[in-house]
Symmetry: C2
Subunit: 282 residues, 2 copies
Amino acid sequence: MKELETHLCFGGTLTVYEHESAVLGCTMKFSVFLPPQARDGDVTLLTYLSGLTCTYDNFTTKAGAYGFAAAHGIAILAPDTSPRGDDVPDDEAYDFGKGAGFYINATRGVWAQHFKMEDYIVKELNALVCKEFSVLDGKQGITGHSMGGHGALTLGLKYPETFTSISAFAPIVAPSQVPWGEKAFTGYLGDDKEEWLKHDATALMQVAGKRTDAPEILIDQGGGDDFLDEQLKPHLFADACSSAGQKLTLRIHNGYDHSYYFIQSYIEDHIIHHTNILTEKS
Amino acid sequence: MKELETHLCFGGTLTVYEHESAVLGCTMKFSVFLPPQARDGDVTLLTYLSGLTCTYDNFTTKAGAYGFAAAHGIAILAPDTSPRGDDVPDDEAYDFGKGAGFYINATRGVWAQHFKMEDYIVKELNALVCKEFSVLDGKQGITGHSMGGHGALTLGLKYPETFTSISAFAPIVAPSQVPWGEKAFTGYLGDDKEEWLKHDATALMQVAGKRTDAPEILIDQGGGDDFLDEQLKPHLFADACSSAGQKLTLRIHNGYDHSYYFIQSYIEDHIIHHTNILTEKS
């Protein structure tokens, strides 16, 4: 693990690292914010997964999250969205290949070798971060935006032993039913739609049954988001949560779009959401 | 004036505009954040001037300022740092020509035609913004970073009828005495150092005499800033303020660098500084 840049920020430290990922077979970058409280002991950890075309850098520079993270004493990990480098295959489209890993393990074609983002995020990177930094590996939350919101919901639901608290900004909640997801899942997983449902938050919730003990999930969605009706469809997940007994707060914010101006406007609420769940007396 | 993009942000609106500048003889971009309070009447205005290599975009996307601006009801204008476009001359260096206008009116060589950033900021753009938006032209503050901190201090001191409140992040306080300023002033103004002193915050303060009625100036400086000792030298301005009777708060923050991670850590204090002065009962 190599440090590329580090900055004091709100009394904590924001650092960008590079490391060799065995799972992805390439060099990856990520950022970690450690709040000032991490100097005195382990703190809770929030993983933020970015959307299509993004790297670790979008959230790191644009989300305005670190002041709130410092105030609440939570660390934030921002990984990249796909494997990287000249040896990794790519596609011309913005919504497939590099920058569009969809947080799943690809099984098809040229993608199967490197595009193992589910294992990378949940296993390799998580273990590395929990080992190298002052974070509590039993007190973690996960959030994300758009494709990363899909990642946060699905990985959060599939790995409750790792991620206790879940939230998302403008998530793709039902990738099996929308163009972005259909294209990615066909390319990475093939045509078997049963396989797709293992990576679809709405489908996961539909088969989960009663989950009344699970912590509340928070979703914020801009009402003026250009992708809302065709790609995001949060009501599908809300309906599934309702049927399953999963507590969900879904907020539609009139006029807000899909940008980081939306995310920065509500990131404090997400940090409070995760902090409240992760620090709850049990 | 053409709107390029607009986003809801913390209940206000962040909009990027393009306009034809008669003063600069080129097309320019800038951003304006209007807090939610601007819907109910005119609000105070803060102009933020960026540093070398920046455009309006750096502050706009990275400073994390708009949540605080919304809370305190102040609008923020972020202009570009130089004239732009294919017809504008440039220099290969990062610290001269495009991206390095230094907020002065050039008088020499190929620069004299377009590089009139002082007139652009103080006259043309200020008049446009005061005319087009719900802002109080008698209640304005100015701030900036590095080269833009030099701009904020000098334009604030030279135009008190326009800018009531002044602050800066890591400003070049004495351009006549440091390499960045010597290079820019030689190129834009020529070799006459008397001319330079009209655009040097420390020199302006040295000749200002007693200014005990002027509002306090706030300067934040990172103690780990790589440019501190060679280019910034805030103690020179602090000494001049002390001699002139100008109230100054100069804070050196151990370990903080020259980046927007530093700016975002202290931008709230600057917004409060300007708001307190601009909304003071008189």
